[in-house]
């Protein structure tokens, strides 16, 4: 592991140089903008990300390109500076006033901001947007805003959905007040989620598809053909109000083309035909990129954990010793190698990824580690202890079916776990199914999945979005395709610990982080999952591109790229 660390340290200076960009030259934002503003940024991707309606778009691709187009009351910083995973005020003129023990949030709206169609932003746009989230059946409606007072009829799609008691506006004072049925310490994160972007009142209450509603950011989407191209031009009404939440963009135009495969994308960016590619380069091009294009390669952490979920209600994983045995036996080092090596993946030992403040690198499983005395990091497999645990469980010889997604990654990691289970004495087979179906399939208890491979990238970068969403008792819904607690894990004591951590989040974030770490350790002590790897992202840019800034949430900040 020392060798791995040394290699990563070797990468660090390159990353810092790339990410610091022009800021390293000591220029302020205005001078940078004056020096580098203009030009056309050309992006490429294998395919488009579907609807550009901000209340509907859910693909990371459209969340990323939508970042310089739309704003919410809150936002995750888009400047590449500051703590990229803590929400900051965006259209709100400062942090909200929180009353009633966390049930009421009062925001004051910034004045003088205009949408790209010239319409002046007002409080009525905020309440219309909140209503629209429900009326267009946004993916954020149920999970994030069902706690609003008056949301029930909106969710049911019956009766009036006016949220008149849940979102109260005062046009004269320029305030918007949210009333929640219960305290929600993640509420600011939820308002920073891109699907809570504010659009003008009067935006149709249906998915606008290929037509992007006006936004308040520095760009507007002027043309979108999902089979071919998306074009963005400057929003003529944009003025910078907060350089952290929504800075101005550098290029005058952004042209996003679709249709090349990953091989062709790499070649096109290498040759300068495009400036950036969305997709990860194929594995066998990595050596070439690392050899010849070092200054143009940028690595960043992704807030995604890949793991095996084990159904704690089905044999043999209903026995905790079996789950612990698999955690001891799965070789995370091999998993990292499968994913391209230490430059592109980290071994994962817990379910809060690096990049989230509550992340704890300690490992409770494997060689030299235990739940009581975790090792500082992954040290290797402990097959002897794993075999002993399986022997004690009396489950050896049982059939196990591993459900995995039918992708290269899914098949390879699924096979690796199958081999481990076989070594432990089980008769294991792999069942790959299409990735479009697999995630829902794993969630539904009717499918009786014993163990499945999946990944989780939270919609907003808070520890609760990982732990509470995946392991809380109220996240388990039998016979439903929407039961993110796929393991069926439920421990009321851990639920209470998570509630306490959430409650501490706004008043004492340091204590909250420590409590989230405790919750994470308590969950891993019962091992409902086997965390495998946390992957990293590689961005390749053309020679004429500079100022490559990344955010753990939005990936590369496209509007911050400058073109020579």
């Amino acid at each position: 592991m020392r060798g791995v660390a040394a290699r990563l340290l070797g990468v660090l200076p390159v990353l810092l140089l790339g990410m610091a960009g022009g800021a390293a030259h000591g220029m302020d934002d205005g001078a940078l903008m004056a020096a580098h503003r203009g030009g056309t940024l050309r992006l490429t991707a294998a395919s488009s990300g579907g609807s550009v309606d901000p209340q509907i778009a859910y693909e990371q691709q459209n969340l990323q390109i939508g970042a310089p187009v739309y704003d919410g009351l809150m936002a995750f910083p888009k400047s590449g500076r500051g703590d990229a995973v803590r929400p900051v005020p965006d259209l709100a003129d400062g942090m909200p006033e929180i009353r009633d023990g966390g049930r009421t949030y009062v925001f004051r709206l910034r004045q003088g901001i205009r949408f790209s169609d010239g319409h002046v932003l007002g409080v009525e746009d905020v309440v219309a947007t909140m209503r629209r989230i429900f009326r267009v059946n946004s993916p954020a409606a149920g999970p994030y805003f069902s706690n609003l007072v008056g949301a029930a009829p909106c969710l049911a799609g019956q009766g009036r959905c006016d949220l008149s008691n849940g979102v109260v506006t005062d046009a004269a004072a320029g305030t918007v007040t949210f009333h929640l049925a219960r305290p929600d310490t993640d509420f600011l994160y939820k308002l920073a989620f891109p699907q809570a972007a504010i659009v003008p009142a009067g935006t149709p209450d249906h998915d606008t598809g290929n037509v992007a509603p006006p936004g308040t950011g520095p760009y507007r989407i002027t043309f979108y053909d999902p089979d071919r191209v998306m074009r963005l031009e400057r929003n003529p009404y944009f003025r910078v109000w907060d350089g952290l939440a929504q800075p101005d963009g550098f290029p005058d135009r952004i042209v996003y083309s679709f249709g090349l495969d990953e091989e062709a994308e790499v070649t096109a960016v290498e040759n300068g035909q495009y400036d950036w590619m969305l997709d990860m380069p194929p594995r066998d091009r990595l050596g070439e990129l690392g050899d010849r294009y070092v200054p143009r390669v940028h690595l960043s952490d992704m807030l995604v954990v890949w793991y095996m979920e084990m159904n704690v209600r089905l044999a043999p994983f209903d026995v905790p010793e079996v789950r612990r045995a698999l955690n001891d036996a799965v070789d995370r080092h091999a998993m990292v190698l499968h994913e391209g090596g230490p430059a592109l993946a980290y071994p994962a030992c817990d379910m809060i990824p690096r990049g989230i403040p509550s992340h704890d690198p300690e490992c409770a499983y494997g060689r030299g580690a235990s739940v009581a005395h975790p090792a500082p990091s992954w040290q290797g497999v402990d097959m002897a202890r794993a075999r002993a645990l399986v022997a004690a469980s009396g489950t050896a010889g049982q059939d196990v079916t591993i459900v995995t997604m039918n992708t290269s990654m899914g098949r390879v990691l699924g096979q690796a776990v199958r081999e481990t289970l076989a070594e432990l004495g089980y008769h294991a087979i792999v069942r790959p199914i299409t990735p479009v179906v697999e995630f829902s399939y794993l969630q539904n208890t009717s499918n009786a999945v014993q163990i499945g491979f999946t990944g989780w990238q939270a919609d907003y970068p808070a520890p609760g979005a990982f732990l509470h969403t995946l392991f809380a008792c109220d996240s388990f819904h039998p016979s439903s395709d929407n039961s993110l607690n796929m393991s069926g894990f439920c421990d009321p004591a851990i639920d209470r610990l998570m509630d306490d951590a959430a409650a501490a989040q706004q008043g004492d974030p340091v204590r909250a982080d420590a409590m989230w770490q405790q919750a994470d350790a308590a969950i891993m002590a019962q091992a409902p999952v086997v965390p495998l790897v946390q992957t990293r992202r590689l961005d390749l840019v053309s020679a004429r591109v500079g100022h490559v800034l990344s955010s753990a949430y939005y990936m590369v900040l496209l509007a911050q790229l400058w073109v020579h």
Partner: protein, 341 residues
């Protein structure tokens, strides 16, 4: 008068049968004999796969080994080797070492010995193509003989079914069937076949090629049905099934035998295509198609992983085609009454 006649009759050399004559002609065809030798050599090598893996390479070709190492000239070498670039981006499996005991042809993306997998994959590919071709020939013979001999409505129905199957591109047809069966397995009443069972690709490949083999058989049977010896047998009141078994079948056997190597070549390519698309042989099993699929992602850095099984397919398919041509020349029914000059 009687004795000498009988004596001269006994002493005259007995004329060789058509199969013997065909065998002689085939033996004189050098290209066909080389092809046969190549096929036998490849088959023998593949049958010895377990011996190679266990006693020579000392490896398990079905278990991933990315974190493993091999010893070459006394040095331990990691199987997955970090690329030598400043960012340490990417890993490449070890390339050909040309040491039989240490990844002779290199390793695949999961660190498994390519040579051992090539031999094991060959066993699977040859088995599937042989069984699929045999099953296809049997089905085609039944369909072709029934349609050609019965004629009328039976022929019309069977021929239209064959036409419909023929109208669907063969690979598209095979892919459609494979996608369904590879996800759910195959259940036919009380018989359940798991999705990773080799019977599934065998049956699918055999089925999709039936029209290709049944048509020439039907044509041959239709011409035989009007032959004098069949008419005579009918006139003597010989039952239809006896005519088919005793008179028709022996006369189409040559056609079927000639078709066999060609069908086997087609079956091998179909199996490779399905396995390349992940809907043929299922992991951890190996066939030449699955190995090519593994190699696709390494085509820039370790092209041997795709080239070696690709070459194996080319060699075997070429050999089967050459052998098939030789058998066609040797067994050609138009030549059955005379020796080639």
């Amino acid at each position: 008068m009687t004795a000498p006649t009988a004596s001269s009759s006994l002493s005259a050399p007995r004329p060789a049968g058509p199969w013997r004559r065909a065998g002689r002609r085939l033996a004189r065809d050098r290209a066909a004999m080389v092809a046969l030798a190549v096929l036998l050599a490849v088959t023998a090598a593949c049958l010895l796969a377990p011996v190679y893996a266990r006693d020579v390479a000392h490896t398990d070709p079905f278990t991933s080994n990315v974190a493993g190492s091999v010893t070459i000239d006394g040095r331990s070498v990691d199987i997955m080797q970090p690329n030598d670039n400043p960012l340490h981006l990417g890993l490449s499996p070890i390339g050909p070492t040309w040491h039989a005991s240490a990844d002779l042809l290199g390793a695949d993306s999961q660190g498994r010995d390519l040579a051992a997998r090539l031999l094991y994959g060959g066993r699977t590919s040859l088995l599937i193509s042989f069984c699929a071709a045999a099953l296809c020939i049997v089905l085609a013979a039944i369909v072709g003989i029934v349609a050609g001999y019965a004629g009328g409505i039976v022929d019309a129905v069977l021929s239209r079914i064959m036409d419909i199957m023929w109208a669907v591109p063969v690979y598209l047809f095979a892919i459609s069937l494979s996608i369904v069966t590879v996800s759910q397995g195959l259940k036919l009443g009380p018989v359940a076949i798991a999705s990773d069972n080799l019977l599934i690709p065998i049956c699918i490949i055999a089925l999709v090629y039936v029209p290709y083999a049944a048509r020439p058989v039907r044509g041959r049977v239709m011409s035989l049905r009007r032959a004098e010896f069949v008419t005579a047998a009918r006139a003597l009141g010989v039952p239809g099934y006896r005519i088919v078994l005793r008179d028709i079948l022996p006369n189409v056997t040559g056609t079927l035998v000639v078709l066999a190597p060609l069908m086997m070549a087609l079956a091998m390519m179909a199996e490779s295509a399905l396995s390349f698309l992940s809907i043929g042989v299922q992991a951890p099993g190996a066939s030449w198609g699955t190995i090519i699929e593994d190699g696709e992602g390494l085509i820039y850095t370790r092209p041997m992983v795709a080239i070696a099984p690709g070459l194996a397919i080319v060699i075997v398919v070429l050999a089967l085609n050459v052998l098939g041509d030789g058998m066609r020349d040797a067994l050609d029914v138009r030549d059955s009454g005379r020796e080639r000059a």
